[in-house]
Symmetry: D5
Subunit: 123 residues, 10 copies
């Protein structure tokens, strides 16, 4: 896990004096089911209010690709990504939402948050 986290890069927040919301909608996440080994597919929505550092986009893409051939549960990977991103850029607030493809007629969504969203900020 140490290795994967090192993929993430950051750059200095260009407007640190203002709380503002950055959102990255990842259309193409895939990992494996830890039980059957079958592929899982998801969209990921990452939203945060930066403190001093922003997540660099290309490194975010590479980081997420590192799960491509790894077996991991929905609930686990969502929280793990949140933990790794928080660790990388220490945001004031961050949320990660994963929206999974239908399996057995069921579509699952997992949403985890770190910190409190600064007020006032429009949704």
């Amino acid at each position: 896990m140490e290795d994967r986290r090192s993929i993430l890069e950051t750059f200095p927040n260009p407007h640190p004096g203002r709380d503002y919301v950055i959102e990255h909608k990842v259309q193409e996440f895939t990992s494996l089911c830890p039980i059957t080994g079958q592929p899982d597919f998801a969209r990921m929505v990452i939203r945060y209010v930066a403190a001093g550092k922003c997540v660099e986009l290309k490194s975010l893409k590479m980081y997420l690709q590192s799960f491509r051939n790894e077996g991991i549960f929905y609930e686990d990977v969502t929280n793990l990504i949140l933990n790794d991103l928080v660790s990388a850029c220490s945001p004031k607030w961050m949320s990660v939402r994963s929206i999974w493809s239908v399996r057995g007629g069921i579509r699952s969504v997992v949403t985890a948050e770190h910190g409190n969203r600064p007020q006032p900020l429009s949704s």
Copy 2:
């Protein structure tokens, strides 16, 4: 009813230190009308914040299939499923919403909740 509840299985919440939301959208629920015996069809949306246990997906599917040939009212089955799931995994908060096919030109939706949703959690 004892029997049906025993179908549900759980696994330990992999991130118990954080309140986060898990959602399962079931596209394919069917039961029978208790009066006419005709089939009813619904989508079910289950959302919860786990405490120590998460609902295992495959057992959730099997549990919901157990209503396939049972006659039961909209209001009743929605609350019953909520009761059984709460009993199985003792969540901090849970809601069950059933969205039924049109009958007589009327589409019905029933939404029941258990506990208070932890704050702060984005919707």
Copy 3:
């Protein structure tokens, strides 16, 4: 009016110990314009938190059909239906929304509520 109200039937709330939301979306309401006698068409959305009684669906359909050949204004019929339903089942909270077909390039919506929605209940 006494006659129309008598069409509505109720059944005992199967889960009176919990506040939960019941919604009936009626796709096919029609009445007449009280001035021109021309047909009006609307969708009706009825939402409530039951106390001891729930509205029986088939009687609700018959009750709403009783307006088919009656001349009545948008604002009036919406409040009237709310009054009749409240009278029939004494809910903790109820709202009736009517969404009308375009007339003269204008689409009208009327929303009336009875009582306060119990807290906490997710929307």
Copy 4:
């Protein structure tokens, strides 16, 4: 039936030298089920290539409203309306399509045509 047909009025085709397509999409048709007496609801799509006469819109609306309290089958009313309109304006080609509300989980559509559509005419 003689009576209903007399509601339809026509006006002279203002451009009889060209074959062109006129379409009227009626959003709000309602009649009764001949067996149960329950209301049926439909959208009607009327398309035609006029010869010497066009259907006057307001009279078309009144004509269709005349079915409001009449019991009649889907297949029958669709062909009947086609017959009456053909009789009123003798078009080169005409089609009538009725799209009905869901009944018993089934949505029905009936499409009847009179004459051959002139060629070449884009769809």
Copy 5:
């Protein structure tokens, strides 16, 4: 199978002098997978040009419900329904399309036809 076919009822085509298209979109078909016993769900679209007989709607609903607890393959049930309906009403042309719920990330559609669609008939 003899039994199931006897559920279907017909009524005389009210406008046998004209070729016209009747469509029934069934929103709520369910059967079982013949291998796993798991429920399958589909929408069914039935279209035909009647000769002397039309399919009665309520009997069609009951006929389709007879597959609820039967194990049968997608390709098989689609052709079987077409065969039974053709046998019941001897149409000039008929097609049956089944659109299945996602299984293993794959959505299947099977379309079978009997006879040639009469010309000219708009789509």
Copy 6:
């Protein structure tokens, strides 16, 4: 301006004992750009909680048509209509939203409100 305001007519609120929301969505508003004289097009959404008087629909349509050949800015006409309607029916709360056609690749929306929306009223 005195003239235009006189077009608006009202009728007594049929249910003055209850705060409820009336909405009129006007699909077809048009005025002129005060600088270029070119036509502008908008949808208008008017929402209010009546006190003693409701706005009569046909007079509302005629009132809005009176802007057809008048040059006026987006921000101005939105507030002007709000002022005139408030003056005509003295509502407890009212909002007017204008949604304009794209000009120079930009779609503008202006929303003005009068008074505070009574609590509790569902949105």
Copy 7:
């Protein structure tokens, strides 16, 4: 009418050696009902294969605005615009479609064509 037609300007087809399709979708057409004087609103879709001349866009806009305060029937204005455009640019093929706002619950569409569409041209 002579006057209106003179508004239309053309420019030389920059690729006269190839048959290709030009389409202009006009979102904001308005004229008046010749009977009631009430405003009518439409979208207009103009498609053509140019011969030597193309229609200049700004002059097309001005030409269509010239109907703003004129009373004219749906069928008439559609054919009239086709005639004027054909007269202005002598295309190999042209069609004009007008799609009108709902009036009395009916949405009308009129489609007129001039000449035969050159083959082969994909739709």
Copy 8:
């Protein structure tokens, strides 16, 4: 390649006496860009008219998963899949369409066909 093709399994066409269309829409295909090694994502639509053999669904899923970590061009993989499926079940007609995720602001679609679609078959 010999290996991959051996994954595909077939079953006997249950209705060989009739030409009918089978469609499988695969929502979750992924392979690698042969130049950059970056993941590509696509939806695949496979349609065919079987002769004696049908493609077994689970084996189709496994076959398509075998491209998960292989570098291959859009045009190549689409034709390759068509070749392999034709080789496996010798259909009367088959088409394979791949619809790719946006890359560099461009969405690509490749469609290849084998044989002629039997006539008459509705689309």
Copy 9:
């Protein structure tokens, strides 16, 4: 930067006595990636409550076009535009949201706000 800001023009708020919301949705923003020099595309949503001055629309369009050939990061340009607009019209409240085209399978959205939105104002 001094130069760009001078493009923005304002006009006096025609209704300074009321807090109301003005929104401009810009469909066609483009700038360059500061690293690769490749074009970026975005929609921009600007919302504000004016104090004494409103932003003039044509100058807003010209101001935004000034970024067409400039290399600048998503987070930076969003905050920069907010700063420039605030500087030009000193609003009571303003937000700028930029919604970017997909890059590497990721769609980014950046939302920055200045001041507190006046209460009460409906969303």
Copy 10:
């Protein structure tokens, strides 16, 4: 122009023995109005059946970007791109469609084709 065309690169058609359709939907085309100098925006849809050569995607992107700061008419640029692509890869059939942003309330679409589409190929 010689320069621009040299940007386009090709690669050998990997399956020259089969006629199949390749489609590239370009979401982000921009050029300038040759009269006003204002930016124009379009989506471009390029479809072709290759002979010996396919268009390389990255070079296609660079080629289209070369119009970013060039003034050119809708009809002209569409045919020009078709000419350049045909010149680069000599396809059996090719079409180019440009779909432009709204200008003056009008959305324009231009579609040009080269050669005849090989038969039989499904659309």
